[in-house]
């Protein structure tokens, strides 16, 4: 119990379950399992980008990647065009999407390191360029994903989305990377004290580079899977991931000041964010009330979580 209470991610799960319960209270318990299925389905995409964003945020104050939405869009557009609905090209599409992310990541880091632009502004500027590339390349034309990819991304076994299970495995892997590998330790060290990290022998440049690239690669992966899931890429497909990816990291119990983060919280936060919208839709709240409630609930969760953290 003590162990549980001291987990930083606890509150994200508590909140998700509470919101889920509130939804069921309205429907009289009907559709609980289906809501969860839907929640896992969509939380999956949040988590993919959340993983990358979390590592970036862990690098310390001011580190954040605002180019995620544009990267998702570009990777989705390029991948669907490369695959051109052919099942034989699925793997090629995946590689292209990830390569596209890697390229954006390299560009981001080049701005940060060569031009010494603060990451927030660097990634914001690069997102404009990437979005333009996506427009010039795809011109907003929607190409259907290969059927196998569409099937894989939407497959369910007994109501359990296959994609969600795959990403849970990926998350577990990233949790190990964060906590048990030298890379993960180094990221956390840089986030706490950059100067000290450099003087303690951490290859600061290399680690930061790897992290920005990894984050963009995850965004590329998300764009690829998302275009498979929703029947093609669109120019606006990444939009909602801008603020969501940041909210996920922090609601999940990681520190925005860097140097301290955890993976399980991402899932709690992702489920929570999806379920809040579902709950408010179910209650039939108008747009105004819905926005307000969403905001207040986010604040409430962070207040509740902070109370616990002070005790620790």
């Amino acid at each position: 119990m003590r162990w549980l209470l001291s987990r930083p991610w606890l509150w994200a799960y508590v909140a998700a379950i509470a919101v889920w319960g509130a939804t069921l209270a309205f429907t009289g318990g009907r559709g609980g399992a289906e809501v969860m299925t839907a929640a896992f389905t969509f939380a999956t995409f949040y988590v993919i980008v959340g993983l990358g964003q979390m590592f970036v945020v862990t690098l310390g104050p001011g580190n954040v990647d605002l180019s995620i939405p544009a990267t998702i869009t570009l990777a989705g557009a390029i991948a669907t065009k490369v695959m051109d609905t052919q099942n034989s090209m699925i793997l090629a599409g995946l590689l292209v999407a990830i390569a596209c992310g890697v390229a954006v990541g390299c560009f981001n880091y080049a701005l940060i390191i060569l031009l010494r632009i603060p990451p927030i502004i660097a990634t914001l500027s690069s997102s404009f360029l990437v979005q333009s590339t996506a427009i010039a390349y795809g011109r907003g034309i929607r190409i259907k994903p290969p059927s196998l990819l569409a099937d894989f991304t939407t497959a369910q076994i007994h109501g359990v989305p296959v994609l969600a299970v795959s990403i849970i495995v990926l998350s577990a892997l990233m949790a190990v990377v964060l906590n048990r590998t030298v890379y993960g330790r180094f990221v956390t060290a840089i986030g706490q004290n950059l100067r000290a990290a450099r003087l303690a022998g951490v290859p600061v440049g290399g680690i930061r580079f790897a992290t920005y690239v990894m984050c963009a690669a995850f965004a590329g992966l998300c764009g690829y899977l998302l275009s498979g899931f929703s029947g093609g890429a669109s120019l606006s497909m990444g939009e909602e991931y801008l603020l969501t990816s940041i909210a996920l990291v922090v609601i999940g119990g990681s520190s925005v000041a860097g140097g301290f983060s955890n993976v399980p919280g991402l899932w709690g936060a992702a489920l929570f964010l999806f379920l809040v919208v579902t709950m408010l839709n179910t209650y039939g709240a108008g747009a105004g009330l819905r926005y307000m409630a969403t905001g207040l609930i986010i604040i409430a969760v962070i207040v509740a979580a902070s109370g616990k953290r002070a005790v620790r």
């Binding site: 590998t181 030298v182 004290n193 003087l199 022998g201 140097g259």
Partner: protein, 483 residues
Amino acid sequence: MADTPIIRLDGVQKSFGAVRALRGVDLECRAGECLGLVGHNGAGKSTLMNLLAGVFGAEGRIAIDGVDVSGRHGVAEAQARGIRCVFQELSICPNLSVAENARVFHAGLSGFGWRRRAGKLIRDKLDEIFPGHGISAADIVGDLPIARRQMVEIARAFTVTSAPVRLVILDEPTSSLDAHVAEQLLAFVRRFVAGGGSVVLISHLLGEILSAADRVVVMKDGQVVAERPAAEFTRSTLVAAMGSVAAEEKEGPAEPARARSDAAPRLRARPPRQEDGRELVAHRGEVIGLAGLAGQGQTAMLVLIYGRLRGAGKGENGAFVAGDRQQDGVFPLWSIADNITITSLKRLRRGLMIDRAGTRAMAEGWRERIGIRTPDVNNPILSLSGGNQQKALFARALGSDAGVVLMDDPMRGVDIGTKQEVYGMIRAEAEKGRTFLWYTTEMDELRHCDHTYVFRDGRIVADLARSELTEEKVLQSSFADAS
């Protein structure tokens, strides 16, 4: 003295979780006296001073001017009653100017022309304590080297506007100052005390305590274990009172000077601003000293060499022991073990993953070897006292496989017992072939060096073998023009 003490503590206790920092301390500070406070790292000195300054409360009785204020003693009250504190970890705002930092200290410094008044206030005090300080009131504090920052903070504590200054607590004020400036400070403390003020002086430099204090209080494990007039202590009785196991420092060179090897040096480096052909040369197994007044480019030299060693990649490896531990050393969210093992992680791998048993064993091993005072190496690093944090940083460097260890005035805040042990370790490691580059502001430590380079204004101005090393020579080249 018949008058009531300015502040009086009775059976004060303070715990941080499981750590009992103070276990029933009685203490009195009187007007017109300098109280010296010594004790090993983690003895509870800083905790006690925080208490006096009202930073936090504690169990037990606190009386100011004979009035019991237990439970309602706070920073504002302490200041109103003329109690000031220069904390061990710097407490000034790096983004503000010197004058603005003075204003922060004085709520009354406001209204039209406050900046000019604040500037004059601090400048006058700096002139008084540290003649020739070279600090302007408009300087941004963050741009100043650490020694000057410390000078600003000390001077600020003595400035007066509305509330009087009666008791000033100086928690290791000289740790970042060179001998010359430290001398200025101690002289001022004597003058201040002579004028009826009261000072509590904490220092690990026993010479300072013995020369400046009237009365000495010795703390050990959260308790006062001895309290006598300074005149009744000698260096050795003081060390004995602290319960330090270390033998008293030997005088003079510990061993005969060795001739420098003719083999190719392990590294050579020239300061960027050096105009003549002088350069720093280090061989395997040597301990090289970097001396001079504080902030003359020694740290920059170390950082430069460190960067070059890392850039070179394979072969040579450097490890750095930070002196400014908050800025350059400590990872504040991590445990002691994590802090010690970070530089050695690549060695402590099994497959792709970090070997947990291995890291724990390493941390435990160093806790014992270097005597870090903590029940558990998995406690947060910030739960350690300043000196013990410093020991963890030593463990980090000595525990790595680095061939060259760069030390940036690393003994700041380390107690005398530990120092002796660390000196021994450095010697032993050097014998095994490691090279040490050691910047220090303490004359005594240069005696442990095979070769000493004196820095002034970012340049090497003297190059002394161990046999040539004397205090006069170092001081002379530190000040005089290199002619």
